[in-house]
Structure formats: structure tokens, C-alpha cells
């Protein structure tokens, strides 16, 4: 396996926050929009207005439902684009050298003029992050917006991937995982992010920040409830069933409360 760089100076990638992704597909379309008229061949669409429209996208949002026994089911939106793996199998299988991982920043790219469109790299990717463009016959994948992040024709603040810039929920963050103090490294550490599908041994750079635990409705019983003002016991913690509240109790309380104002 000779063509992966031994190591890269930077490990640029994304941190994707599953706790806030609302599944809006904004990143999907902005990615398509940027990339169809920038790096490489356009991202084509077949049968665009027909019975079976199908096109090339570099980023897609899945929606999962997760159910644990005795808890209400939970919905998780799950964006998926290339994770720019350190041990990228898609690179090593490539017969032409078109697929490569950049030594300086770790971005995994396809050099389209070398690509024969054999599809093997897409077979080798466990995440489904590569799509062969049907019109151009070359492999397309997330470029980490390599033509944005260093682009001197863009204002500095815009030198980030299109999907990150557009995400309305701020669920996508871009940074350097080689730097332990970077935004993404810190977020990943704080939120206990783990690499996706480690069984596949790809050492992905991108990290997913897991959904935070949900307030569990089962715990209702343990939580303080309001003490009715007419509860003479003065003990606030009575889960008193149908407390027979009445307007009479209110009057006495109001009188005192208004005095205090």
C-alpha cells in the first residue's frame, strides 16, 4: 500500500453535530451548487424532470429512527459526506492513481483527468461517500471544498467549505484534527465523538458528535413539581394527584402577594 502518505501535516475535516442537525438538506444543495460549477466536472442529473431523476451529490442526509425499549422513539438526522480517512481504502484500490490523499492537509481527492471510472474506490468506501458521475464517467466525492478553503479570491471568513458556511443550524464545523486545540478537536473531545464505523479500519478524520441524552419522560416522578399555594403542609413535593385547587385559596394568597409588591 504505497500511495497513501505516511502521515499528513494537517488533518482537515468536519465535525458534524448530530445533536443539532435538523435534517434540512441545506448543506446537500449548497454543496451541489458550489461543486457543480467549480472543482472538476459538473455534478450532472439524469432524467432530471422525468420518471426516475437521479443525480450526483457529494453529501447526503439520512434520517434514522432509534428506539430503545421503554423510551419514546427518537429521530436522528445523519449527514454523510467523505470522512477523509487516514487509512483510506478508496485510495489504495485505485488502479490509476486518480484517487489520492494530499500529504499536506489529508484531503482525499480524485484527479478526474486520470480517473477511468472503474468504480472500485466507491466499492472500497464503507460510507457510501463516492458517486460516479453518469455524464462524465468519473468518480466524484467531497473535496472538502479544496477550492474554497485556500481560495484567495474569497474573503478570509468565507474560506471554509460551502456546506459549513450554509448550515443554518451550525451543525457542521471545519477544522484541523491534527491540532489538538482546534475547534473540531476540542468539540470532538468534549462531546465524546468516536470515529464512524471503526470496524472498517479506515481511521476517518471527520467526527460525529453524538446526540445529547434526551430528557427522559420516565423520570417525571423524580422531579419537583409546583407546590400549590393552598397546600397548607407547605411541603412542595407532594405529587398530590388531583389537588383540589380552588379560587378561594387563590384569594388569600393574592392578598399577601399583592401586599408584597
Amino acid at each position: 500500500m504505497t500511495t497513501l502518505p505516511q502521515s499528513t501535516h494537517k488533518k482537515l475535516g468536519l465535525a458534524i453535530d448530530l445533536d443539532i442537525c435538523v435534517g434540512c438538506h441545506a448543506c446537500v444543495i449548497n454543496c451541489k451548487e458550489w461543486n457543480t460549477s467549480n472543482y472538476g466536472a459538473p455534478l450532472s442529473d439524469q432524467d432530471a424532470y422525468g420518471a426516475e431523476p437521479v443525480g450526483t451529490f457529494l453529501n447526503r442526509i439520512h434520517t434514522f429512527e432509534v428506539k430503545a425499549a421503554d423510551k419514546p422513539a427518537q429521530t436522528v438526522h445523519f449527514p454523510k459526506s467523505c470522512l477523509h480517512c487516514d487509512d483510506a481504502p478508496c485510495v489504495t484500490v485505485c488502479p490509476t492513481g486518480a484517487s489520492y490523499k494530499r500529504a499536506d492537509d489529508g484531503i482525499v481527492l480524485v484527479n478526474e483527468s486520470d480517473c477511468i471510472g472503474c468504480g472500485l474506490c466507491a466499492w472500497a468506501c464503507p460510507y457510501g461517500a463516492r458517486e460516479l458521475d453518469a455524464a462524465e464517467g468519473v468518480m466524484k466525492k467531497c473535496t472538502l471544498c479544496v477550492d474554497r478553503i485556500y481560495n484567495e479570491n474569497l474573503p478570509e471568513i468565507d474560506r471554509e467549505p460551502a456546506c459549513v458556511r450554509t448550515c443554518p443550524a451550525n451543525a457542521r464545523h471545519f477544522g484541523d484534527y491534527a491540532d489538538p486545540d482546534s475547534n473540531v478537536s476540542r468539540m470532538a473531545a468534549e462531546r465524546g465523538a468516536v470515529p464512524l464505523f471503526p470496524e472498517q479500519g479506515t481511521s476517518p478524520v471527520n467526527r460525529y458528535l453524538p446526540p445529547r441524552p434526551k430528557a427522559d419522560i420516565q423520570t417525571d416522578g423524580d422531579i419537583d413539581i409546583l407546590a400549590p399555594f393552598l397546600d397548607t403542609s407547605g411541603n412542595g413535593n407532594t405529587a398530590s394527584g388531583t389537588s383540589s385547587t380552588s379560587a378561594k385559596g387563590l384569594l388569600g394568597w393574592l392578598d399577601k402577594a399583592l401586599e408584597a409588591i
Binding site: N30, D147, I217, L226
Partner: protein, 944 residues
């Protein structure tokens, strides 16, 4: 050997030739966009970072704007119908001919019966122009889409607190510590809500989603309350009961800023029963604790009672607060007693009440900012109650929606969290007292403008739009006893009323931007029949239909004359303070669109066409004294029209020196200034005026300077809406104006001046055993109603829509993956594919809205998935309720506002055999496409 070889990349390619900044219109959120142009073509669209609405982000629809702009479904030229209605057969004509036809149809109406023109403008962002035009024409029949959209939300907000969610206000995203969101899928404030939710998460605030469906915002909420549809009112009133019972309400706030202490006539025999006690100056009275005397509510130093019996001239009066407390402190609202209906456990209700109280009162925010209130009292600080709420159609699109929205506002007010730090905040031109709005006007006079604005907020029966003979003055029957406060009109009733000739026949139906034959109507097939129905002599029952659309929609096929609009990148527009601007809680803002590309077809911006048509018909306001056109086009109007002296459509850069904000003479360079500034104008509210706006002297003065008001207009919130009681009094037989007898009971129930809850009408009328299931729709974030399907990128995401079925129903019926089902309501039956969803209220099914399409529309293939598997729930919903057996057909609307009750739908479900052709039913016969079909394959971006 091991050397890593990699190509040299140009990492700084040219991005574009030029950026043109304008406003998105892939939905009504109105985000700022940077349109990157290369070789005269749109290359890339991104969010404008400086823009107050979206601060740089852009949603999927916004990014897909390119595909919308180059859509193959764009209309190319004006057209007149040559085939039968509904067929889609047209002939292209010139604009001169189109105007001539339109004028030949409408001018005679104006000369005799202006009301025979019904002008309804759908998803209109230029209502201040279109309403002005309708007013100049003289027809009472004008409204936009609010009646079928969310007038409950808007009207409840305005009657209760002088403003509403979304356009008129927003949560304090930066300070709220607990946030509850009710019945929202996307809402209009698409990007701001997402930006806001993300800020809440960053700050560790708690988000609670109340929604039968746990998707979108509810998926990321920290807690999900999977409420049963139509029961939010009960749930909220139960929260209110718990708060009242615990004394966890902000009494000081209630006393100072609301009508809680106002004395209410409690003598059922009195003609003024339920109305406030006023002094001779017309000021509502409160009972002063110090003196035991009634005093004006706004008297300095007054210390009002909130619970007392006070007899004045032999009549018993009690404070509104007390009436409220007595109403809710009963067992009906106890958590145990609402649990079954709402599907929310009693403990959950109690805990949420406790969390709200704790956050509001124990996590109080204090901002050290002195301010002065309208009574002249000075305050050293601003106290915040950091609980914020937001809600939308999930609570408003029910027949109990108005009162449910009111209940939510009451909850906010009891917690003291409106217009305070951490709570809910208004956006200029709001807050505005309900009495500061126009009242409805509906008296047509031949050849003259209407006697005043069409729409408004009735203050009592005298404001109803009813003719002397007791029949409705408006074709949509808005502002009648059936729905007295229909503040946005009732566009959804226009076609069926016009078809029935009830209350009268019309001649020309002129519509703009509403797909009325399809997804924006209930009973879509019935509507198609009404539009094509003929009288015995072979004429169409609705004689003439003029329609403006930009695209080959379903509605186009049903019009006789088509005025083709441009796309949003090709025209001038203004998002005006006279209408619904893009303001933020901290700034007054408005914005424009301008042609960043010129149309390559024979199309015109509808607003320009309307202005030109107005001039051709010599409508006052559109011609000068010499009869010449007053405005050339919309851009000319935007700059030069003045509503009041010095106040026009745009607030920014007014006056000769271009420094006027809100006020100032027209400035011929105004549009250029907007373009230079990125397409919008923003004027920050001073620090001292940032909160307590309805009562804050500094805000009131600032607003007057900006032309928002002509005089300071402070007011108090209405926990008790006296205007509603006036209608109730009439229902009780008091007063001169009397409702028809059959409506008395409904009015007594509906016009309760205190929020209340009743069972949704459809639910009450159908057999619960026969139709045990609630059926809903939701907006998908990546689609806008019907428009999205013509978009090559978006339609790949939502090309068809399954019916999501709760796990419970799924198992009960033994559904399996890939199954189909019959879904039946009292009105009809559809056949659709089903998918299981567990994160769903067990009694509920739902689907994405408006994905199903008619064959032949939108330049799509006849076999497009939208037309095959895609379906509309609308076929099951009817604009009328099932018969009650009283010989009358009641409308499927909220009895206060007339809002269409989309989400009251009740259905049953059965397994269906999987159809061989995988075609959903009903399948409507195809329409011909006047624009052909879109190309097979596309590669957008290959030119760059």
C-alpha cells in the same frame, strides 16, 4: 519508490465576475443572498453574511434557486386559453392584448358592480400594493392567503398582545433558558429558527418540542411532548392551572402591563355584561387597593386589586384576573383530567409547569438598563423571565386554533415573558395595539375606490362586513357572524362561494400566486370541478379567471388569461414596513429584490403589470390628473409612492439628503442605496428602547420618529379580550346588531373573552370509532409547497411522499414494508404507500405537504414520481364540515377567524393491495403543458 505523488491544484480559482446582492424568494423567509454572476449567468448563490435574517446561511431551497430560476416550467409569455378550462391548452399573446382583455373584462364591472371582481393574491409579499390596487378598483373582495394559512396565530397574537410570532416577533434566542416550540415543522422563519435553536443549544438552554411528530426541530429538542392533535389548548390551560394554583405568575407584570386588573361587569342582566368599567374619559378602571376607589388603569401610583367584588352603581364588577383564575382553577383542567385527551402524562404536565416557573422566576435575568414607562415611572433595570415560546400552524390550523393561540399567549403573559429579556420580543412595526389597526371595509360604490382598507380587526359587531339585508358583503363571507374576526379574509372559500353564487355571483376571479386548483385548496378535485362547471347555457359558472403565475402550475390550466410573472431574480420587489418587513427585535429593517438578471422571455413582474393595468383602467392612485400613468413600473412606485406624507414603501435613505429613516421625501436614488447596502436597510433600536416596547417611552418616541406611528401608542395586553365579549353579548340577544339564531350558541362558545378549548369540529361531528385517526401534513424543509417539484435538485430529495403511520396503528393493521393503504375521511378516500414511524403520536398519521402533482404540470414527465406515488391529503379534507342534520353546512374553519382547519382531519386506514402500477389514487387526468417538458439530462455548471 514510496514517494507520494499528487497533482498541483489551483486552490484559488476565480469564483465569479461579480456578486449581486438581493433577497431570496424560494420561500417567504426572505433571506439575503449573494448572487455570483459569471459571463452574465447565475453561477452560485450563497447567504449574505450581513443580512439580519439569515446572517450568511442559506437553506436547501435557497441554494437551489439556480434551478428554480432556470426551471423548464417557467411561463414564457402572456397566454389566453384556447381549449376547455383545465385542459392546459393556450395560445401565447402579447402584453398589449393581455391588458386589453383584462381591461375589457374588468372596467365594465367597476362601472357598475365593483364587487363582481374578486381579487385574491395568495402568497403575496406585496400586499400593501395589491390591497391598494383593489381598494382603488373599489371591490370589497380582496385578501391574500392568510385565511387558509395561519390567521389564528396572527389574530390571536394581535388581539392579545398587539403582535404575533414570526413576522411580528421572535424569541429572545440570545437569552432564553427554556424554549417551548408548539406545532412547528419549518415555519416561515426557516433560517432564523434554525440559527436560534443552535444558539440555544450552544448556551445549554432547554428546548421542548410539542408536536405529534418527532421530526425536524422536534427531533433535536431535549424533550418531546408527542401531543394528540387538536388538544394543545387543553394542555396549555392545564399548565396555566398549575401555575395559578402555585401562585407562580408575575403579578407585578400583570398589574402594570395587562388588563388583568380591569374591572369587568359581572351582572349577567346588564347590557354591558362582560365589558370593562370606563370613566368619562373612556379609560378602563381598576380598583385601587389604597383608596378602594376605581381609578384609571394608567394612573401613576395606582395599586390595583386583582381579586375583589366591587359594586358600582348597583352593578357588580370584578377584575379580569379573578375571572380568569376562577375559570382555570377547576378540575376540568387538572393534569389528570386532560391527560387522556392530550396524550400527555399528568406528571409531565406538572413537571413542565414547574420547570417553566423555576426558569422564569428563579433564573430571572437583570439588565442594568434604566428606562421609563408610559406612566412616566422610571425603572433602574430590565427584568427578564427567560422562558420563550414559539408556535405555528400545528396549533393554529384547527377549528379551536384561535383560542389555543390565545391560551399560549396567556401563558406567556402570566409568566411575564413577553417583551422582556429572555422572552418573546416584537419586531417593528410591532408592537401595535389591536385598536391601532384598521377595521374592515366592504362598501363598494360604482366607479369609486372602496371606503377604506379591506382587512382589519373588528372591534365589535358594528365592524362586520354585512350588508343592510343581512347578507355577507364579501364573496368569502369574511367578517360575518360565522367568523367575525377573519382578519386575513378567507381565500379558501372564494371558489366554492363563487361557484355557489352565495352570497352573490361574481364575474371575474383574478388570482395571483396561489395554486388554488391543487394544494392550496381543500377538496382539490371538487375545486377543479367548480372551476370547470358550466351553466345550462354553456357558460362557465365562474365566468372569467385571470391568473398570474411564474410557472406552469396546476392552477394555470384553469385560467382564461395568464399574466406570466418573472422569477425572483428578474424583478423589483420590496419587503416593506407597510406590509410584513424583515425587521428584527433589535432593529427596524426592510429590503428589496432587483433584477440581477434580465428576463429572457416575454414576462413581467406581476406588480409592474398590475400598476400598468391599473393605469390602463385609469384607477385612481395609478394615474395623474391628466390620466397619464403615475408610475411606470413597480420600481417607480416603490420609490415614489407615499402612503402618508413622507412615508412610503421603503424606510431607508429617504429625503433629499438621503438620511431619512422611515420618514422623508421620496429619494430617486433610494433603490441604488439599497443595492449598495446589500439589498436591505437596517436601523437599530436604541438600548433604552430594546425591551418593554409597548410601554417603553423611549421606544414609542423612536417609533414615532421612524413613521411607525404618528403618535405614541402605548397599550396593555389583553388577557381578557373585551371585543370578543361584544360578539358574545350580541349572541345573548343584547345590542342592535344581532346574529342569526343558528349561530348564537357557536358565538357564545367561540367568542369567550378568556382562552378556552373545545373539541375540534370535525372530531365532534364524525364517529370517533369510524374515524379514529388524526391525519396531518408537514412542510419538508427542502421543498416549498408545490414549487419545489420543478426543481431538478430538490425533487430528487422529495419526489414522492409516503404516509407515515404510527407504530401502534402499523401493528394493529399488520402493515409491512412496501405496503399501501386506503385512507378514508368523511369526504373521500385515497390510496397511498405507507411507512412506519414510531416517533409519532400513536393516534396519528402524517405526510409531507404538496408533493403530489397533477400529470402534465410543472414541465414534468407524465410518469414523474410526484404524479404516481406522490399524493395530496387535500382530497380528504373538505371546506365544509359533514352535515350536522340541521340542514346547514358549516364551514371547516375556526369560528372566530375563519382559519381553515386543515389539521382537524379524521380518517381511518385499511390495508390496500399494492397497485401493479404503483399509482396513488385519485389520479387526476393530465393537463397539457404550455411549456413542454424539461430536458432529459442536465449538467448545471458546465459553462463555468
Amino acid at each position: 519508490m514510496n514517494k507520494h505523488i499528487q497533482p498541483d491544484l489551483d486552490t484559488s480559482p476565480k469564483v465569479s465576475d461579480e456578486i449581486r446582492k438581493t433577497t431570496c424568494y424560494m420561500c417567504a423567509c426572505r433571506c439575503g443572498i449573494n448572487v455570483h454572476m459569471q459571463d452574465g449567468k447565475v453561477k452560485y448563490i450563497e447567504g449574505n453574511r450581513d443580512h439580519p435574517i439569515n446572517r450568511g446561511v442559506l437553506c436547501a431551497k435557497g441554494s437551489a434557486g439556480i434551478m428554480q430560476h432556470y426551471s423548464p416550467a417557467r411561463l414564457k409569455a402572456p397566454m389566453k386559453r384556447v381549449g376547455p378550462r383545465g385542459s392546459g391548452e393556450f395560445e401565447e399573446i402579447s402584453w398589449d392584448e393581455a391588458f386589453q382583455i383584462a381591461s375589457d373584462w374588468m372596467t365594465p364591472l367597476r362601472e357598475k358592480h365593483p364587487e363582481k371582481l374578486a381579487f385574491f393574491t395568495g402568497r403575496d409579499q406585496s400586499q400593501s400594493l395589491t390591497s391598494y390596487w383593489a381598494q382603488q378598483f373599489g371591490t370589497p373582495n380582496y385578501a391574500a392567503h392568510g385565511g387558509f394559512c395561519s390567521v389564528n396565530m396572527a389574530a390571536a397574537g394581535i388581539y392579545t398582545m398587539g403582535g404575533a410570532f414570526w413576522e411580528f416577533g421572535q424569541p429572545d434566542w440570545e437569552r432564553a433558558k427554556m424554549f417551548m416550540i408548539f406545532g412547528v415543522a419549518e415555519d416561515h422563519d426557516s433560517n432564523p429558527i434554525k440559527l436560534g435553536l443552535s444558539r440555544l443549544k450552544e448556551r445549554g438552554a432547554k428546548i421542548v418540542g410539542v408536536n405529534p411528530v418527532r421530526s425536524g426541530y422536534n427531533a433535536i429538542a431535549d424533550e418531546w411532548v408527542g401531543i394528540t392533535p387538536g388538544t394543545d389548548g387543553l394542555f396549555i390551560l392545564s399548565l396555566i392551572r398549575e401555575l395559578l394554583a402555585a401562585g407562580k405568575v408575575d403579578l407585578e407584570y400583570l398589574i402594570r402591563y395587562t388588563n388583568a386588573p380591569y374591572l369587568v361587569n359581572c351582572d349577567p342582566e346588564s347590557d354591558d355584561h362582560g365589558l370593562f368599567l370606563y370613566d368619562n374619559d373612556g379609560k378602563p378602571q381598576v380598583l385601587d387597593r389604597a383608596t378602594g376607589e376605581p381609578l384609571p388603569f394608567d394612573q401613576q401610583g395606582v395599586k390595583p386589586e386583582l381579586a375583589t367584588n366591587y359594586t358600582h352603581k348597583g352593578t357588580l364588577y370584578r377584575p379580569a384576573f379573578q375571572l380568569m383564575a376562577e375559570k382555570y382553577l377547576v378540575d376540568d383542567y387538572a393534569p389528570e383530567n386532560v391527560a387522556e385527551r392530550t396524550g400527555v402524562k399528568p406528571d409531565t404536565i406538572r413537571r413542565l409547569a414547574a420547570e417553566l416557573a423555576r426558569t422564569a422566576f428563579e433564573e430571572e435575568i437583570v439588565i442594568n438598563q434604566p428606562w421609563t414607562d408610559f406612566r412616566g415611572e422610571k425603572h433602574d433595570e430590565m427584568i427578564g423571565r427567560p422562558v420563550a415560546f414559539h408556535a405555528m400552524r400545528g396549533i393554529s390550523a384547527h377549528s379551536n386554533g384561535f383560542q389555543t393561540c390565545r391560551a399560549l399567549h396567556l401563558l406567556q403573559i402570566l409568566l411575564g415573558s413577553v417583551e422582556v429579556p429572555g422572552g418573546f420580543r416584537f419586531k417593528p412595526p410591532y408592537p401595535k395595539p389591536v385598536t391601532g389597526h384598521p377595521r374592515p371595509h366592504a362598501k363598494p360604490v360604482a366607479n369609486s375606490p372602496l371606503n377604506g382598507p379591506h382587512l382589519g380587526f373588528p372591534q365589535g359587531p358594528e365592524d362586520l362586513a354585512i350588508k343592510a339585508n343581512g347578507t355577507p358583503a364579501r364573496i368569502d363571507k369574511a367578517f360575518t357572524w360565522e367568523n367575525p374576526m377573519s382578519a386575513h379574509g378567507m381565500m379558501h372559500m372564494v371558489i366554492s362561494n363563487a361557484h355557489a353564487g352565495d352570497p352573490y355571483k361574481i364575474d371575474t376571479l383574478f388570482m395571483y400566486m396561489a395554486n388554488m386548483s391543487w394544494n392550496s385548496s381543500m377538496n382539490s378535485r371538487g375545486v377543479m370541478d367548480m372551476l370547470t362547471d358550466k351553466t345550462e347555457d354553456g357558460e362557465y359558472v365562474i365566468p372569467r379567471i385571470i391568473y398570474s403565475d411564474s410557472y406552469s402550475s396546476e392552477m394555470v390550466a384553469f385560467a382564461d388569461l395568464i399574466l406570466p410573472d418573472t422569477t425572483y431574480l428578474e424583478r423589483h420587489d420590496c419587503i416593506s414596513l407597510l406590509d410584513r418587513p424583515i425587521s428584527e427585535a433589535e432593529a427596524m429593517c426592510d429590503s428589496i429584490r432587483w433584477p440581477v438578471v434580465e428576463p429572457d422571455r416575454d414576462v413581467r413582474g406581476f406588480q409592474s403589470a398590475l400598476i400598468q393595468l391599473g393605469a390602463k383602467m385609469k384607477l385612481p392612485g395609478f394615474v395623474n390628473e391628466d390620466g397619464a400613468a403615475k408610475y411606470q413600473d413597480y420600481a417607480d412606485y416603490i420609490v415614489n409612492h407615499e402612503r402618508r406624507p413622507g412615508v412610503g414603501p421603503l424606510a431607508g435613505w429617504r429625503g433629499e439628503d438621503e438620511t431619512g429613516s422611515g420618514r422623508g421625501a421620496p429619494n430617486p436614488n433610494q433603490i441604488d442605496r439599497y443595492i449598495e447596502n446589500g439589498g436591505f436597510y437596517m436601523d437599530h433600536i436604541p438600548e433604552e428602547a430594546l425591551f418593554y416596547k409597548p410601554w417603553n417611552k423611549a421606544y414609542q418616541d423612536w417609533a414615532v420618529e421612524r413613521g411607525i406611528f404618528d403618535a405614541p401608542s402605548p397599550y396593555t395586553f389583553n388577557i381578557y379580550v373585551e371585543q370578543m365579549q361584544k360578539f358574545r353579548l350580541a349572541a345573548e340577544g343584547k345590542g342592535e346588531l344581532q346574529p342569526p339564531d343558528h349561530l348564537r350558541e357557536q358565538l357564545k362558545m367561540a367568542m369567550d373573552p378568556l382562552p378556552t378549548w373545545w373539541q375540534p369540529f370535525e372530531e365532534a361531528l364524525v364517529d370517533g370509532e369510524e374515524y379514529p385517526i388524526h391525519a396531518l401534513t408537514q412542510r419538508p424543509a427542502a421543498m416549498y409547497h408545490s414549487w419545489g417539484s420543478q426543481n431538478a435538485w430538490l425533487r430528487q430529495i422529495h419526489g414522492h411522499n409516503p404516509l407515515y403511520v404510527s407504530g401502534e396503528i402499523w401493528e394493529q393493521h399488520g402493515f409491512e414494508e412496501g405496503d399501501w393503504a386506503y385512507l378514508k375521511s368523511h369526504h373521500g378516500e385515497i390510496q397511498v404507500p405507507v411507512v412506519r414511524m414510531d416517533a409519532l403520536n400513536p393516534k396519528t398519521v402524517w405526510t409531507w405537504n404538496a408533493i403530489g402533482k397533477r400529470k402534465g404540470a410543472w414541465a414534468l414527465d407524465q410518469d414523474a414520481p410526484e404524479t404516481k406515488k406522490g399524493f395530496l391529503l387535500n382530497h380528504l379534507i373538505h371546506e365544509l364540515l359533514p352535515p350536522k342534520g340541521d340542514g346547514l353546512r358549516w364551514s371547516n374553519s375556526d369560528p372566530v377567524t375563519g382559519q381553515a382547519a386543515w389539521y382537524d382531519l379524521r380518517v381511518n386506514i385499511r390495508k390496500a393491495p399494492t397497485p401493479d402500477n404503483l399509482q396513488s389514487e385519485p389520479a387526476i387526468a393530465p393537463q397539457k403543458s404550455p411549456v413542454g417538458q424539461g430536458p432529459k439530462n442536465i449538467r448545471y455548471g458546465e459553462d463555468f
